[in-house]
């Protein structure tokens, strides 16, 4: 961990890795770290803007960018040369990102692990809620299932090892923590993360013109709501409405 931190704070070194003949991976390090993640997202924007012929899509993750391409349109060597010129060399000014406020009903049947997490840290349930909803998070990546947002920024007092036995089914829209990370789940999945609550918001809804609520680089705040408010808002999202508030980046 300390070694990772040191590397992250030094001038970023990067490696371009071959990932078959249809993808390159540009790797900035091997840690979960906000600075590395910002470099990934800066490169993602640059590659997107460069509109390189043959590039199909980019997949930004914690500490690397996967660039998927058509080998019939561009060769690995040519693409490497193009990408090498786009790699950010220092933490450049970050592009403005959206800031979301997501309502969450904590505890009870909607947050089965809230009390366990509180006990594990010698806190009360309300203190866990205050800590979790008092922080600003950053979407490190969307992955694993459609719309699932992995968030960095979980306050250290809430860092909690994952459950020893994963649950086979965790409901969509669960607000969860695992290790040093937080997440909002988008569809029902198996998971060993701790469930603190649930949002009436849907992170993935094909009926909307924007099916995915969050994107990598977005900032996220959580707002505690009552069970009654949860029911009221869930009725709106049931109809395809968005209830999370969004401020455009400044």
């Amino acid at each position: 961990m300390n070694a990772d931190k040191r590397r992250a704070n030094a001038t970023p070194a990067h490696r371009i890795l071959q990932a078959g003949d249809q993808a390159l991976v540009v790797e900035f390090g091997d840690a979960i770290d906000a600075r590395l993640n910002r470099l990934v997202q800066a490169l993602d924007r640059r590659v997107g803007k460069a509109a390189i012929e043959g590039v199909i899509e980019c997949v930004p993750t914690y500490r690397s960018l996967m660039i998927v391409y058509d080998p019939l349109s561009i060769g690995s060597a040519a693409l490497r040369r193009r990408v090498e010129k786009l790699v950010p060399t220092s933490a450049e000014a970050e592009a403005p990102s959206r800031r979301w406020t997501i309502p969450v009903a904590y505890g009870g049947a909607l947050g089965l692990d809230l009390e366990d997490v509180a006990r594990a840290h010698g806190l009360s349930g309300d203190e866990v809620i205050a800590l979790h909803s008092g922080a600003e998070y950053r979407v490190y990546m969307i992955g694993f299932s459609p719309g699932l947002a992995y968030l960095g920024g979980l306050p250290e007092p809430l860092h909690t090892p994952r459950r020893t036995s994963p649950r086979l089914r965790v409901p969509a829209s669960s607000v969860a923590i695992g290790g040093i990370q937080a997440a909002v789940f988008s569809v029902e999945i198996p998971s060993g993360w701790h469930l603190l609550g649930r949002t009436p918001e849907r992170l993935f809804d094909l009926r909307r013109t924007q099916p995915f609520l969050l994107g990598a680089g977005d900032r996220v705040l959580f707002r505690p709501i009552s069970a009654a408010e949860y029911d009221r808002l869930a009725a709106l999202t049931e109809r395809g409405e968005v209830v999370a508030e969004c401020e455009a980046g400044a």
Partner: protein, 327 residues
Amino acid sequence: MKPAPAHAVLRVINPGALATLQDRGRMGYQRYGVPQSGAIDTLTFAVACMLVGNELDEAAIEFTLTGGSYVLESGRCRAAVAGAFAVALNGTTVPSYRAFDLRAGDMLRIGSSPVGHGGARGYLAVAGGFDVAPVLGSRSTHVRSGIGGLDGAALRKDARLRLRTPQAQSGPPLALDPRLARHDPGPIRVLPGPQDDAFAAAGWEVFLGESWRMSPHSDRMGMRLEGARVPHKSDYNIVSDGVPHGAVQVPGDGQPIVMLADRQSTGGYPKIATVISADLPRLGQFRPGDALRFARVAIDEAETAARELAARIELLRSALRPAGILV
């Protein structure tokens, strides 16, 4: 004015082990966690499309191990099966790789692969394509996400598939000499990486030196292999990153998994190597218990092979003949 022709509707009588609508896959949404999906054996899929005059981005039914049976409820249509499978139309054998016309009431039965032909996946295409709306730019089904295909699910008994009316006038049914569509034999070629450095020489020796058996627990997401144990250099967990098509990930038990079309967009196991694009279609025809080996190649060879596969598909198009000429 002539009355509008009845819409052709194909009803599933029995979908076999697994039948899903697939096209070339869903591009551009992996950054949102949406798997690519698409036909696993894109070569055989392309042949099915060409046999009925469809573009290669049209969807076909991908079936697994056994084809199942279908009845045309109404209308008429031209169809074809690609893959080494026994096909019968109203009880009479029709060769695969040969288009035929269906009328209302006709029953199509697709059996399993003849012994020794090793077919694991086949494709049933209809001229004009299936009338399902694309989801996020593709008709491919991703069952786990409930996206695409018919209501986001695998085909079930009594599912009814509406067909679109073909744009072009159909000439005589086309056929292809099945020998031309066979996959090449030999080891599956891989490029090292992206996490080749997570494995020492001992790991590489096992991975390339041993023969692997395909596990029955394989699916469209991953082809699980059984055999010797590939040792990691140290840790077998990495910080999750993108999972490329054909990535060979090695979890803690040392048994490799080749990540196929339905793979999740990100994952946390090290990927020792990645299967080259030209050999991905071949993976679709392995059956549980089949043996395979890997061979390491360089990027130049992978890129040459990709161009050769594209050229081969164009060559197959020009090798299509009116069905009567082939016996």
